[in-house]
Structures are given as structure tokens and as C-alpha cells.
Symmetry: C2
């Protein structure tokens, strides 16, 4: 490890050798693109640079090159309190991996949802980030214009209903729910319920998954029942009451109120956390899972692997999306806006990960 004490600059190297700093610069940053520097000089410079422990000054490089090699990420505030931001963390794993490969640094804003987007825009703009991720947002937000106006390349990761001009990677919510229904049907289930978010303020993902449930039942000619949109009929949940506790309670009430041969044999839940609570409450109330009730969730986070029984879930390729998004962003940065001004939209499919909460329905 080279001893690092005083900052070494190009000039220092040049003086040490007795040449101009231009040559040094030439050698040091395109050692491949041979721009007429003699072999002797080139080797001398490289050696001295190493000895002196030279590291180019990043601010200076950014200034001269008009590139910061930094990408920004903005996460719009989520209505639900982030569960330690587990969900976003997976996306960032993919982003950071690609950033390392491409030698970008990453600046994350609003990871914990307490900043207004105007403030983030200010910072992004000030920092002159080369590109921007919009993480887990969706089309139609009023603040998007502000970001677009900056002229900074943008890509949406896990971005539903994208505007035509922005690049976006979208999770196939509809396909995921359909896949869940198909999995259950293949096991022999017919009466399938759905447990989502109850009441007002439904986020787009929630809406999409709920609608997809209805559509899938219709498409596959399965029996439908208003009550199977569990809890919805009971209306919004009062303030101060825990959403998970209350939906579990209502669900259990409903199940008790219906004779076994009319009861749903499986429940699709909006996400893992919902499944986790539902399963635990079912079991505490004498229902065996999956013997008495099947459960399948969407997202396949690590929660599914931690609970006994382990939860069957529809995968969400968040890490792959983050990874891919980074390369798309790089492409935008290097090649600018395409002539037709059309963004690239990619749809990411979901696959069923079979664990222990689904099986054939009780006869």
C-alpha cells in the first residue's frame, strides 16, 4: 500500500520528471489510445505516478470533463412506512452491482421518505448527476415534469404505467396475479379469494394487482364472489387501528361465517407482509396452513423463507431490474435521447416459487 500523505498532482509528477503536465495527463488517462508519446517517456511517467501514489482529483476531473460519474436515485415517499426499506434495498443491490461494473457512484435521496421532491431535485441538479433513477414510482406523478426539465437522463425502475418518453422497467403485476391463480388452479383450487389493501388511498401496485385478480378469475371462468375481495365490503379501516391486525380479524370473521363448502380454499395476498400476518393469525385461530387454507403472496422477499411454514410466493425480479436499469441509463447518458424520443419499456415477468403454504385443497 502506497503511503498517502500529501496530495500528488499532475504538476508534481511533471516537475519530478522534468516534463510538461500535458504529457503526463495524456499518458495517464488513455494509456491505450496511443497519442504519440515515446515509449520511454510513457514508462517513466507511469512508474513515477505509481511511486508517488498519484490519484486524479475527482472534482477537477468532473469539472474538466463535464461528467460526474455519479448517478442519483430518487424514491418517492411511500404511503406505507417502509419496512426497513427491504423492498428498495433489493433493487439497489442490482443497481450498485452494475454501478461498480460501470464505475459510477451512487447518490441516494429520500431512502427514508422524509424529503420533498423539490429538495431532491435541487440536490441532484447541484450535484450534476449524470443520470437519475426513479425507484418504485409510477407514471402520472405531478413531480415528474420537474425532473424531466432538468434534462438529466432518467430511467424508472419498478415503474408502472410509464409515460412514453421515459425509459422504464415495469413489473408485470397482472401476470404475477394470473400466475398465482394458475398455480392454485393447477393444484385443484376453484374458490380463490384476494386480500389486499383495504379502503381509500390505494397505491397503483395495489390497484393493479386487485384488478388483475378479478380479470384472471373472469378469464379462467372461476367462480366469483364480492366477499372474496376480502374485507373490502367492510369499508375503510379506522385510524389508529393496525391494518394487518384488522384485516386478519375481518378475514377470520368472514371465514367463520361461511359454511366450509362455500368457503374459499385459497387466498392470494397483495404482498409478503400481508401473507405473513394472515398465516400467523390463521394458525393461531386453529386453521392449518395449507391443510385448511392455502396462501400465496406476491414479491417473494426473504420473509417468505423465514416463516414456518415457508410461504409460496410470486417472484419479483427486483435485483435484475435494478441491474438492467443501470445499463439502460448508461446508454442514455452516452447516446443521448433517441431521435424518435421514445423511451424503452421492458416488462419483467413473475414466476411462482413453490414452498409450503400451497397444496391440493382439502377434499
Amino acid at each position: 500500500m502506497t503511503q498517502i500523505t500529501k496530495k500528488v498532482t499532475l504538476k508534481d509528477i511533471a516537475q519530478q520528471i522534468g516534463c510538461s503536465k500535458a504529457v503526463v495527463s495524456t499518458v495517464l488517462n488513455r494509456s491505450k489510445g496511443n497519442t504519440g508519446v515515446s515509449k520511454g517517456m510513457r514508462e517513466k511517467i507511469e512508474q513515477v505516478a505509481l511511486e508517488m501514489g498519484y490519484r486524479p482529483n475527482f472534482s477537477s476531473q468532473s469539472l474538466a470533463r463535464q461528467r460526474t460519474m455519479t448517478l442519483g436515485a430518487y424514491i418517492p415517499p411511500q404511503p406505507w412506512g417502509s419496512i426497513g426499506s427491504t423492498y428498495e434495498t433489493v433493487i439497489f443491490r442490482g443497481i450498485e452491482k452494475a454501478c461498480q461494473e460501470l464505475d459510477y457512484d451512487l447518490l441516494v435521496f429520500n431512502r427514508f421518505g422524509d424529503l420533498r421532491h423539490e429538495h431532491c431535485m435541487e440536490k441532484l441538479y447541484q450535484r450534476r448527476v449524470d443520470g437519475l433513477f426513479l425507484v418504485h414510482a409510477h407514471g402520472g406523478c405531478d413531480w415528474l415534469d420537474g425532473f424531466l426539465k432538468t434534462g438529466v437522463p432518467i430511467v424508472g425502475v419498478d415503474y408502472s404505467n410509464p409515460e412514453p418518453q421515459v425509459d422504464a422497467l415495469t413489473f408485470d403485476n397482472t401476470g404475477a396475479i394470473k400466475g398465482a391463480v394458475e398455480h392454485l388452479v393447477s393444484l385443484g383450487h376453484q374458490r380463490i379469494a384476494y386480500l389486499g389493501q383495504v379502503g381509500h388511498r390505494m397505491v397503483l401496485d395495489q390497484q393493479l394487482r386487485r384488478d388483475a385478480y378479478i380479470a384472471a378469475l373472469k378469464q379462467m371462468n372461476l367462480p366469483m364472489n364480492d366477499d372474496w375481495l376480502l374485507c373490502e365490503i367492510d369499508g375503510p379501516i379506522p385510524k389508529g387501528v393496525d391494518h394487518y391486525d384488522e384485516t386478519s380479524r375481518r378475514t377470520l370473521n368472514y371465514l367463520r361465517s361461511v359454511p366450509a363448502d362455500q368457503r374459499p380454499t385459497a387466498i392470494i395476498t397483495f404482498n409478503d407482509r400481508t401473507a405473513l400476518n394472515l398465516i400467523q393469525d390463521l394458525m393461531q385461530n386453529g386453521y392449518e396452513v395449507p391443510a385448511d387454507m392455502n396462501v400465496i403472496s406476491v414479491d417473494d422477499s426473504y420473509l417468505c423463507r423465514v416463516l414456518r411454514p415457508r410461504i409460496t410466493s410470486m417472484s419479483h425480479p427486483l435485483e435484475a431490474m435494478g441491474y438492467r436499469a443501470t445499463y439502460m441509463l448508461q446508454n442514455r447518458i452516452e447516446n443521448g435521447v433517441p431521435e424518435d424520443n421514445q423511451g424503452i419499456h421492458e416488462l419483467y415477468p413473475s414466476e411462482v416459487v413453490i414452498r409450503q403454504t400451497t397444496s391440493t385443497p382439502r377434499k
Copy 2:
């Protein structure tokens, strides 16, 4: 929102007004520290800057001020696969909050443990970060010297056994375990076991907690038994076998092999994840928690709130530590090394968070 198209510089503003860029600079970055600029000029400049949507160029500022207003964070690779890095995420919540207050940006390296420290040092040095967090590390690591040599101010967050010269915030592992024992004793427990990491490659935290368990029993004159360092007697866990599954299996075997009146009535687990698995396996094998067996863990992550029964746990003030660490780092940056070259060491205590897995022992 101001339309942002072309980058506005100080010169642009100066030209627009017909003054020198020096005045503009003076006004724009210490509008309070009145350095002889006429009120008229000052107002004019501020107004025009606003109209033109001026944002100082960050790279340029950094270059001139020799300050990047960026802090780096390094997380040494952990031997266990990070559970979505939940643990570190909590620390970063505190760090990021303070960074916002102090107007620092944060660059995180190695969040997912795939970078070598040499590489991170390179990047940190290149980026000229103003200061550096060492997250969840501990004293005595061979790579520390490399970081110290850079001369960048350093603070350890959740840093055990700190070297005297570095600033460090340390979690009171010993006190946490002692607190757990005291809680159990206050409920009437006497035979208390400990479930930690089994076998070689024990991380410092694990070692500290294990030793603290032994010390606490001794100190409080509680009965001791080699078997109560659960699983240790059975030796290392073979490769390819899941650590949690295997420790649960061994623990259950042990419990079955001992008559009820000699059996421990409570188990302290190394962390939440261990508690989670243990509890689920106990319950699946006919033990009621806490009726037949009490469990208390350390860390109090959100897992404790998610499982039924909810887990009693010793809190770990990770967020507060991250927050405080940032201010300590800022202090180092602004005031340099103290004359005695002694770091500040702060010890953070743990408190018991009582939930549903502890109660009085079965009579």
C-alpha cells in the same frame, strides 16, 4: 419551478447585470456575512440569480474549497450473508438523517459485501470524501491502517473494541446480555441457556455476547451448565447444512434429553433471526412459547414485531448511533485531530423491550 435548460454560471449572471463575477460570488455564498456589498447590488444579484435559476457547480466548488461535502461509508464484508442488510439499514437511517441536516452527501461502499477494502480505499481516496464511517466493524482489523494513512477523519459506528486513536460508538454487548439475564431473573427464572453461533469463525459480537452470558451468570450466582451454551458441545456445523435448522434441531434434542426440572426455562439468543427460528421450531415441536420455554433475543429489529408471539428483545440503538456518529465526524472534519490524539469513545446501552416471549416460568 424554474425552467432549467442551459447551465447558468456566475459569469452569466455578472454579464447580465454588468458587474464582475467576484461580487456575484461574494453575495451568493455568504449573504449573511456582510462583506461590503451595497444593498442595491446585493438585491439585484439575488434577484437575477433566482430568475436565471442559478445553481453553483458542485465540482467547481469542491475544487476551489477543497471540500467535497461528501462522506463515505465502508462496511467490511460480513461472514454471514446479509439478511437484505436490514441491520446496517437502520444505522444508515440515522446517518442519512444527520447528513441531511448538515448538508453532506453520502457515498456507501460495499453495502453488499463484494468489494475488497483496497478497492474501497481507492475509491474513497479518489473521491476525496471529507470523512469516513466504518460501519459495524471492530478494532484490530489489518485493513484499518490503510484507511488511517489516508488522513481522512474516521469514525466507527457500532464498532467494538476500538483503537484509542479513532472515534467510535460502541454497543454495550455485555450490558445487553446482562440486561436480558436480569429481566429473566426478575420474572423468576434461574436456569437460563444461551444460543449463539456454533463452531469456528466467531465474529467479535458473537464472542462478546457469549462471554457476557457466562459472566452474567457468574456474577448473579445463577446455576451454570456446559450444555446451556446450547449446541456448542456438539461441535461445528457441517458445510451445506443450514445453521439455523441445525441449531434448532440440536437444541430440541437436548431439551428432550433432560428431565423437566433440570431443563432451562429460558433461552437467550444471539440475535433476532436466531430467536425467530428457534421459536418457530419450538412451537412446531409442541413447546408453547413462553409457557414451556421463554425466549429473549438481542437487537430488537422489526422481526420481533412481526412474528406471533412477538419477541421480547434487547434494544440496539443503531439509528441513534448513526445519527450521533455523523456529528462526531463533522466535528473531526471541522476541528481536526485533538492535540492528545485520543479518540472519543461512547458506549451505547441496551434496554429490554418486553413483548410476548417472556413471562414467569412454568411452576
